[in-house]
């Protein structure tokens, strides 16, 4: 071990934790232990890790159905997350949510959402509440590039800007709106430029650099907390896997994914750390430790009984 370990070692472990969680999830899904559609964020880990690094406990995060990484980056434990995917009694949401509806308010994670763009107005409401409750809360909502074409997004961004609400809109631009290139579906492919139209700052950043994400988020969160209103961050990234597990990605040009693997955030951060003098052994240890943690968590989840159907009708009403 070197005596000097930069903070980014923690980022490396946090990203690997998400990567390992999702790789294991894919394995369990292909083995038909996890049933139903699952959307992985492999390759996009730097965005939630960088973003959540600057948040405080009272802040509220809203994500999309590709949101496991956001939950984990917020500190949601691995074992109940696996248990939710596996329909176990110990699942985050008792098996009622499943992959696209993780929520854990005690960790400041207010949920994934499987309606594209729908989380934005809800996040705006969380920010609105902060005006009255004195919490100093900032609301962060992540969404894909495709979501920017939903009406709800437009309403939410205008609403937040009109009232200077503390919201950070984080667009994870992986260049595909489900199976279709975003560039074919917009007149202005630089999505960040839309922010000006709402009267909020916008920026396009390298979303595969965890430090770049953290710096951009820090500025946006500081601004929000100071009462200066919302910001829009377009974080450019690449999805290394399909839209869903089983997506054969026939729509992606040959070599695109292989090329993207050269730029993915975990290997990239390792190379940067090594260049700064951190030994490869230290990096590998951080990665291995995160992977081991995932193995222990999945074993714990698999050992739990299935969620009981006896109370399946409960929790619909107060």
């Amino acid at each position: 071990m070197t005596s000097h370990q930069p903070a980014e070692i923690g980022d490396l472990a946090a990203m690997q934790r998400i990567r390992s969680f999702e790789e294991k999830t894919r394995e369990l899904s292909l083995a038909r232990q996890i049933i139903g559609s699952v959307h992985l964020s492999i390759g996009q880990e730097a965005i939630p890790v960088g973003a959540c690094a600057v948040l405080q406990p009272q802040d509220a995060v809203f994500a999309t159905y590709r949101g496991h990484g956001w939950a984990l980056a917020r500190g949601v434990p691995l074992a109940p997350s696996f248990a939710e995917l596996l329909g176990r009694s110990t699942g985050l949401n008792g098996g009622r949510g499943g992959s696209p509806y993780f929520s854990a308010p005690q960790y400041g994670f207010f949920g994934e959402n499987s309606i594209v763009g729908a989380g934005a107005p809800i996040a705006v409401g969380a920010a609105l509440a902060a005006r009255y409750d004195g919490s100093g809360r900032v609301a962060v909502v992540s969404f894909g590039d495709g979501a920017t074409n939903q009406g709800a997004m437009h309403e939410a961004m205008n609403f937040a800007a009109a009232f200077s609400l503390p919201v950070v809109f984080v667009c994870e631009n992986n260049t595909y709106s489900e199976l279709t290139p975003i560039a074919e579906m917009v007149g202005e492919p630089e999505l960040w430029r839309r922010a000006a139209g709402y009267g909020m700052p916008g920026s396009r950043i390298d979303g595969n650099s965890v430090t770049t994400v953290r710096d951009a988020m820090a500025a946006a969160v500081d601004r929000a907390r100071a009462g200066e209103g919302p910001s829009f961050i377009e974080a450019m990234t690449e999805r290394l896997v399909g839209h869903y597990i089983g997506d054969v990605e026939h729509y992606r040009p040959a070599g695109e994914v292989a090329s993207a693997w050269q730029r993915e955030p975990i290997g990239r951060l390792e190379r940067e750390l090594v260049a700064q003098g951190v030994t490869e052994a230290v990096c590998r240890a951080a990665v291995q430790q995160a992977a081991d943690e995932v193995e222990r968590a999945v074993a714990e989840a698999l050992a739990a009984p299935l969620a009981s159907a006896e109370d399946v009708k409960e929790h619909l009403y107060a």
């Binding site: 009622r96 409750d133 709800a152 009403y317």
Partner: protein, 333 residues
């Protein structure tokens, strides 16, 4: 202390909003034109003056209005939002059905969205097809969502407070045609009832009439006219569609053996079909085929004489009731 005052329907809504804002410091009131203008129907007048920033105007953005209410409610606020016309709830319906109604169940009870959506519906003379729909069945279909339709000033006051007190997302559908109706005595400041229940408006033995919302008053007029010709009507106003007071309907039908459901919504897939289905499933023996009277499956025409030609009027209700009592099936489509 409870007191009795004379209020129009719209004034009773205002009084309920005032009490809600006083009772729950976490309550917020917002929507299009509700604050400084006091609402297009004047229902929210003076509340901005008295409650300041807790009452505010919004952009014309139904998705953001309802969605932000979901988010604010998840954070401990108790938002009461107005959607000016129920037709406009469709602009933000994702936030009602996919979001608000979903929060508690998928989070296994860890989160809830105690918001109230106030809106109004019903055809009034000259109102156009996009400002006349009766959409209660659409919302009553959705698990997780509470739905009520007051038709008297007292219920406008009471049901709204029950809705705001409730920790579930609740839709309160007011009747536009009643806002500026006669002043009636309203007890304000009394206990706030939990959601649910119905109103037994008239006792009778020949026929059970079930109704709600905009047709409740018309049905009451019809029931009086029927009494004059010797048909005794048991009139039940089911002010809550969720939770629905099935027991009140069944115990009435057990006594009368006849059922007519009256609503202003289109007949096909309307909530009247649900009421008849529940009675059929119960096995209660009927003496005649049940009937439902609503708007035939039409868009509402704008010209007053055209809409009057198809909406459930007191005459049409009495005619349908007579047919059921005579054992002649009622086909309203």
């Amino acid at each position: 202390m409870p007191e009795t005052v004379k209020l129009r329907f719209g004034e009773a809504v205002n009084a309920a909003l005032r009490r809600a804002m006083e009772t729950w410091p976490e309550a917020l009131l917002y929507g299009e034109d509700v604050a400084k203008p006091g609402g297009v129907f004047g229902v929210t007048r003076r509340l901005r003056n008295d409650f300041g920033e807790r009452v505010f105007d919004t952009p014309i953005s139904e998705s953001a209005i309802i969605g932000s209410a979901v988010g604010a409610a998840m954070m401990g606020r108790r938002p009461i939002v107005e959607i000016m016309w129920i037709d406009f709830t469709l602009v933000g319906i994702d936030q009602v059905i996919n979001q608000a109604a979903n929060v508690r169940y998928v989070s296994n009870g860890a989160l809830s969205a105690p918001l109230t959506i106030r809106t109004q519906q019903g055809a009034t003379p000259g109102s156009c097809a996009q400002h006349s729909q009766s959409l209660e069945a659409l919302f009553a279909h959705v698990p997780g969502l509470r739905v009520c339709l007051p038709s008297t000033p007292q219920d406008a006051y009471d049901l709204l407070l029950s809705a705001v007190a409730c920790d579930d997302p609740t839709l309160v559908i007011e009747a536009r045609g009643l806002y500026a109706g006669e002043r009636e005595e309203v007890v304000i400041g009394g206990p706030i009832a939990p959601v649910g229940g119905s109103r037994h408006r008239q006792h009778g033995s020949d026929l059970t009439m079930v109704t709600w919302g905009a047709t409740a008053r018309t049905a009451a007029q019809a029931a009086q006219a029927l009494a004059a010709e010797g048909i005794s009507t048991d009139l039940i106003e089911t002010v809550w569609l969720n939770p629905f007071d099935t027991d009140a309907v069944l115990s009435s039908v057990e006594r009368t053996g006849r059922l007519l459901v009256v609503h202003e919504a289109n007949v096909t897939g309307g909530f009247g079909a649900e009421v008849i289905a529940r009675v059929a499933e119960s096995g209660v023996a009927l003496r005649a085929a049940p009937g439902r009277l609503g708007l035939p499956d039409l868009r509402v025409p704008a010209a007053p004489h055209l809409s009057a030609a198809v909406l459930p009027t007191a005459d049409r209700i009495t005619d349908a009731a007579r047919r059921i009592v005579a054992g002649t099936p009622v086909f309203c489509r």
